[in-house]
Amino acid sequence: MSTTTQQTAEPTRAPAVSRASRGLAQRYALLGIGVLLLLVCLAAIPSFRSLRLVTTMVNGQSIILLLALTATIVLRTGDFDLSISQTMVGSAAVVAVLSGHGVSPALAIALALLLGLAVGALNALLVVVIGVDSFVTTLGSFTAMAGFCYLVTGSRIVAGVPDFFVNFSRSTVAGIPTVTIYAWVLVVVLWFVYQRTPLGRYTLFIGGNRNAARLAGLRVSAIRIGAYLVSGVLASFIGVVFAGYFGAVDPSVGGQYMLQPFAAVYLGATALAVGRFNAVGTLVALYLLTIGITGLQLLGAQTWVTNVFYGLALMIAVTAAKLAGRKTRAGLS
């Protein structure tokens, strides 16, 4: 079986002539939808025209954006890392509990990051070294980490996270909270790595065709292991941010942060760089969803409406991108 995110599975084929135009239409479909939606909201909903609204909207998504960006790292190499949301909560719990015992912030952070590194290493060991399917392995570490969260917190909410952490996440620079700045910095860093550096291309190469990558002389295993380690450490960094942002850690919330980041990532993979997990597309996708949902909320929509919107938006956006990019497709050449 081996669930992979092989990028080769269904080669989209197009005749040489339409190569350029296809790219454009497909590339900006999502961005277009996003801008359109924003304009509609601005026109139809007066309260949308407040800067404050836009900033809170954006800030509120920062933790999910951070998670989604982290998810792209392993996805690009063709594997899954479903465990990140629990690693985040686990690390947040470690920070909160240790701080409660008077451990210094620096040491607490160091231990939290070490936890992330350990989870990443375990995932890498099983998936890369032993070769177990990544979906089921990281589903396993997701669940095991959920247990860990209950363990360290004694199944209780740990409140009273020290001000150091609260400031770490919430203090503002030019009006923008640091949590948002972290997310944007990560977008820029990942954009650079993915788009501009050999490493970014290697990850894509590995995700696209692992054997080909091996034949091309890439250190496939090293890069895949590295991806899991970075994913784990980043997840625990997000955990530190999480602890400060909320000021308290509820050990049971990990599951709620599992799916949304992946939805944004997959949607983002249809934007800007079609079919490639990428940072900027993820950001656009997430903000697109947020604009839509906020607009609906302002119009007084009920819970079911936002869920239906979220689901349909996912389906419609990927379908639009697909249709925009399709001229001919079919079997072999």
Binding site: R19, R196, T197, L332
Partner: protein, 511 residues
């Protein structure tokens, strides 16, 4: 002369099966050395051991006097550049991205890639090689031959850096997907590298090429070197005998007696292709009769890659149609064509021909599986027996239908795919590069089956860039240029030779 490559006692087992069994090999600097052998004898395994894809169990390899340590990392730093048999490209990435991968895109791991410089480097390189590939196109949009060329260009970048002396080039069946002209350019390049002092290891099943360009050769059988000599002092017949362990009379079977195509006693028309057009192919129009073997050729990208898919309904034609035994096909699905007794053996085996994790039996019986369905379920014993029989018919080794396809060598996988379609007794058989990567012994056997099926009244169309093969087994060959049929050379005219075909391909105006 110094040895470019010296291999002593190389052993490599996959589990209990020995792929290399104490292989010795000596390649001198300045020579093109052919590495020959039957499918599955261990050639690619040697390449992989030398380039760090996996490590040998034992054995010593020295490259220009420097002993390799296993696993080999960054082979180009040892002066080794390689083109692997399975080319190693990613469909959903662009040509430029695929080109730069083995050269680290000319920068550090986290340095910024200078795209303009990359394009310049590869642009210059391709100019010199007389190759042209669009940089920003996805590899999925390339034709098979273009992919091979991509691999050539990619490997050349590393070689260019230190042209000539001190370099070992290894090319594992680089020409399998190339047409005559492109193959020639690649061979010329290889020759030039060797003349500049490099060592070149050339793996190919096309013995004509080997005789033309190589200085010496080593024949491998079951993981051991069984013969080694200068090419000048051997013949194709000797080489094949060393490969197979028996002598082979001819490399190609003779075509069946030519059917009468018109008049009262004419053979019936089985395949009609009328005005068929696709992205490249324009107005393909021809008929094939029962008992006929017709070839279709052309340079890469001229349409002979696209045509089989159009006829078989894999790709829907823009205009025109094909009909089988009078049944006109709508061209929307392969199933329709199969129901009309048309069979297509695809050219890209891994992508279109088999399920690599499935067993040989599961792959082989797929089109006829319903024959084994009983009320209580599939009769597995009958299925396995049937598969074993069919595999024996085409000479698959090992003949164990329960093994996964991945456990067979490339050539043996091809035989299974072949057997899959032969068993359906097709009225029209389309073969896309049927002997690609298949050793001469096996190729002969496969083509014999083709001739036999034609004799029994099927219409056979062979799409291939291998002119020697086409000239040998076809009654007539159509030559495509920019999607149009520009020539038809018939056996009856006496003009059907390899040289004429090549000429017709390269200078269509003259034809």
């Amino acid at each position: 002369m110094t040895a470019a490559l010296e291999v002593r006692g190389m052993v490599k087992s996959y589990g209990g099966a020995r792929a290399l069994d104490g292989l010795d090999l000596h390649v001198a600097a300045g020579e093109v050395h052919a590495l020959l052998g039957q499918n599955g004898c261990g050639k690619s395994t040697l390449v992989k051991a030398l380039t760090g894809v996996h490590s040998p169990d034992s054995g010593v390899a020295t490259v220009f006097g420097r002993e390799l340590t296993y696993p080999v990392t960054a082979p180009h730093t040892h002066g080794i550049a390689v083109i692997h048999q399975d080319i190693g490209v990613v469909d959903q990435m662009t040509v430029l991205e695929n080109l730069g991968v083995n050269a680290g895109y000319g920068t550090r791991l986290l340095g910024a890639v200078n795209t303009r410089r990359e394009k310049r480097v590869y642009g210059d390189l391709m100019d010199r090689l007389d190759i042209s590939l669009p940089f920003d196109t996805l590899v999925s949009d390339l034709a098979p031959a273009e992919r091979s060329l991509l691999a050539v260009v990619r490997a050349m970048r590393l070689l260019e850096a230190h042209e000539g002396a001190g370099q070992l080039f290894i090319l594992d069946e680089p020409t399998a997907a190339l047409s005559g002209g492109e193959a020639e350019r690649l061979l010329a390049l290889m020759r030039r590298m060797a003349d500049l002092g490099a060592g070149v290891v050339f793996i190919s099943h096309r013995l004509a090429e080997v005789m033309e360009v190589c200085d010496s050769m080593t024949v491998v059988r079951a993981g051991r070197a069984v013969a080694t000599s200068p090419v000048a002092r051997t013949t194709r017949e000797d080489i094949v005998a060393a490969m197979l362990g028996r002598r082979m009379e001819d490399f190609f079977p003779a075509p069946p007696p030519e059917p009468v195509r018109s008049g009262v006693n004419s053979a019936r028309t089985r395949l009609v292709v009328d005005g068929l057009s696709g992205d490249v192919v324009q107005d393909a129009t021809f008929t094939v009769h029962a008992g006929e073997v017709v070839g279709v050729t052309g340079l890469a990208g001229m349409g002979q890659e696209e045509l089989p898919g159009l006829i078989a309904g894999v790709t829907t034609p823009r205009r025109g149609y094909a009909s089988v035994d009078g049944t006109r096909l709508a061209g929307r699905s392969p199933r329709e064509a199969i129901d009309a007794t048309l069979a297509l053996v695809p050219g890209n085996r891994l992508r279109d021909g088999c399920w690599i994790a499935g067993s040989a039996a599961e792959n082989l019986t797929l089109p006829v599986l319903s024959r084994f369905a009983r009320p209580w379920g599939i009769d597995s014993a009958a299925e396995t027996d049937h598969a074993a029989e069919r595999m024996a018919e085409v000479g698959t080794f090992p003949n164990d239908p329960r093994l996964p396809m991945a456990a067979f060598s490339g050539g043996n996988q091809q035989k299974v795919v072949f057997a899959k379609w032969l068993q359906t007794g097709p009225g029209v058989l389309l073969l896309d590069e049927p002997t690609q990567g298949v050793d001469p012994g096996a190729a002969h056997d496969l083509l014999e089956d083709v001739v036999e099926i034609a004799e029994r009244g099927s219409a056979v169309v062979v799409f291939s860039g291998d002119h020697e093969q086409l000239a040998a087994i076809c009654h007539r060959v159509l030559v495509l240029h920019h999607g149009r049929t520009v020539a038809e050379i018939t056996r009856a005219s006496g003009e059907l030779t390899e040289a004429n075909l090549l000429h017709a391909c390269e200078t269509p105006a003259a034809a």
